[in-house]
């Protein structure tokens, strides 16, 4: 069976499928200074996030997890985008990304100096309210993991 039309998709963008199929930074870090597990009880998705933080900077990231393409792609994109960033930058990026998915109406402009980059690919999730928590799982876990680092 085949349908000739190319599939383009608002939710399952190519970048998302790519991160899901070929996750970056997958696996635990032996050098982790922070490790936290996050779960979405309603769907069973789980992510375990490892961070190596040195001098206020995330120098290495790893994750393992189980879940849908949205939650796993989001974790993989998180790993890529926070690696090398200071904790302040990480927090700002996480808050910006969360606001992007959670703000009703239009998408808010990112603050000065925040580059949302590939994460823009997850904008499609805004149209699927039950899936927003999938995209946020890793990010909420990240914020919790570094909560006490000031």
């Amino acid at each position: 069976m085949s349908h000739p039309e190319a599939i383009s998709d608002d939710l399952y963008r190519e970048i998302i499928l790519d991160h899901y199929t070929c996750p970056r930074h997958k696996g635990h870090l032996e050098t982790a200074t922070h490790r936290l597990e996050g779960v979405n009880p309603s769907c069973g998705d789980m992510v375990e996030l490892d961070l190596e933080v040195r001098d206020g900077r995330v120098v290495e990231v790893g994750f393992v997890g189980e879940g849908c393409s949205i939650s796993m792609a989001s974790a993989s994109m998180l790993a890529e985008s926070v690696r090398g960033q200071t904790l302040d930058q990480v927090r700002l990026l996480a808050d910006t990304f969360k606001a992007r998915l959670l703000t009703k109406g239009g998408i808010p402009e990112p603050p000065e100096g925040v580059d949302i980059g590939e994460l823009e690919a997850l904008d499609g999730v805004r149209a699927y309210p039950v899936r927003i928590k999938c995209a946020l799982l890793a990010w909420n876990t990240l914020l919790e993991a570094i909560e006490n680092e000031r």
């Binding site: 069976m1 399952y12 499928l17 069973g44 879940g67 849908c68 393409s69």
Partner: protein, 420 residues
């Protein structure tokens, strides 16, 4: 009842009786494949409820005016209809409840509280739905009793060794599902009930997935109690049944206390009414009972043998069509005669929630997740499955649309190749 074809509704024409299927959602026809969760209702059931509410509604019992007498008569007539559908001769042993979950809790809190003690065992398969699991787990905590698990084979049938081992320990209770809501496995009820009885156990059957799909004669089942829900068999939500053997029901304490279940109430003591009132405290779901009776009449008119044949036909067709999809693995028994039309599957590396979302966009309604069977999911090493289930209104086109939507989802997800 409305007549569809040659004097009686037929399965082929049944779909026309379900108005909800006669619409498009998001530009797609509704392909409803989630009946194991809750079934759609035919016009005949909705009309029965509506006409009752438009002409005869009032509270039942004790009313001295025509409407209340009529409502009482119709409510008790509904009980007789449902009893007839199940071959229950002792009609007051058929209790109306809110559904399977309430029926099973009723048993845990009455039969269980009265009959289970420290060290006693409750045998149950790991395939049980949470509603036939958590009430017993919690009862076991309260009583110091033990759960004895019956394991399953990879094909979703009961493991004979662990079944024999569980029964050897002479459990007080053996509770199990007729049909697995994940695998579709039909458990051999009569054989299991006889063996459990021989081991001295009381036998409870969760009929939530069985009664809607398989011809049911309670005496042939050989169990002591049968629980099921109306909403999985074309009736409204909030109505279900607990049937039990009279000699057991009569020795059980009441579950809920209050109006309608008493004989006399003094300031310091009360006594209880006879069956069924003793277990139907408060104002029951009168309209729901009327609806359930209408659903039984509808299914009776189709004929449960015909329902079973229709299920088998769709199941065979679904297996054949799904086999055309590379990387699709169906869980549960391979022998179709041993299964009901619940089809859980895994499709390549696509997570069930992604799959359900993608299918939904093609108008295909399936369920994804743990299906209220977390211990079972752990057992098969899955976080969840995608599940399609069929009923009287489904046809081969529904299967075709499922397969097309799966194919499309598969192509979307297999477009990506990782760089080395």
């Amino acid at each position: 009842m409305e007549i569809s074809v040659q004097g009686r509704p037929s399965i082929q024409a049944a779909r026309q009786d379900f108005p909800i299927l006669d619409q498009e959602i998001g530009g797609h026809p509704v392909t409803f494949l989630d009946s194991a969760s809750s079934a759609q209702k035919p016009r005949q059931v909705m009309q029965a409820v509506r006409s009752f509410e438009e002409t005869s509604y009032a509270n039942i019992h004790r009313g001295l005016y025509w409407l209340s007498e009529e409502a009482t008569r119709l409510y008790e007539e509904a009980r007789e209809t449902v009893a007839g559908f199940l071959g229950v001769e002792d009609v007051p042993t058929l209790l109306f409840t809110r559904g399977t979950t309430e029926s099973l809790n009723l048993l845990a809190y009455t039969w269980g509280e009265r009959n289970l003690g420290e060290g006693d065992e409750i045998a149950l398969p790991v395939m049980e739905h949470h509603s036939n699991l958590v009430p017993w787990q919690q009862l076991a905590f309260r009583k110091g009793a033990r759960l004895r698990w019956i394991e399953i084979n990879p094909d979703g049938t009961l493991d004979q060794d662990s079944l024999a081992a569980a029964l050897d320990r002479r459990p007080k209770l053996f509770t199990f599902t007729w049909v697995s809501n994940v695998f579709g496995t039909i458990n051999p009820v009569r054989e299991l009930a006889d063996r459990a009885h021989a081991a001295g156990a009381t036998v409870i059957l969760d009929g939530a997935q069985g009664v809607p799909h398989l011809p049911t004669r309670v005496e042939d089942l050989g169990v002591d109690f049968l629980a099921f829900s109306g909403h999985k068999m074309l009736a409204p939500t909030g109505i279900g049944v607990l049937w039990g053997r009279r000699e057991l029901l009569e020795t059980m304490p009441p579950f809920h206390y209050g109006g309608s279940m008493i004989s006399t109430v003094r300031r310091d003591r009360s006594s209880w009414d006879v069956l069924p009132n003793r277990f139907e405290a408060g104002t029951p779901n009168i309209s729901g009972a009327i609806g359930l009776a209408a659903a039984c009449r509808y299914l009776d008119a189709l004929g449960m043998e015909a329902v079973r044949d229709h299920d088998q036909d769709l199941l065979a067709y679904a297996f054949e069509q799904l086999a055309s999809l590379e990387g699709l693995e169906v869980f549960g028994p391979e022998d179709l005669a041993g299964r009901s039309c619940v089809v859980s599957f895994r499709f390549r590396n696509i997570h069930p929630h992604d799959l359900a979302t993608l299918l939904a966009r093609e108008g295909v309604c399936v369920r994804a997740g743990h299906h209220c069977c977390q211990p079972l999911m752990r057992e098969i090493g899955m976080m969840g499955t995608t599940r399609a289930s069929f009923y009287v209104y489904n046809n081969r086109e529904d299967v075709d649309r499922l397969v097309q939507a799966l194919d499309k989802a598969g192509r979307l997800f297999s477009g990506v190749k990782c760089k080395p």
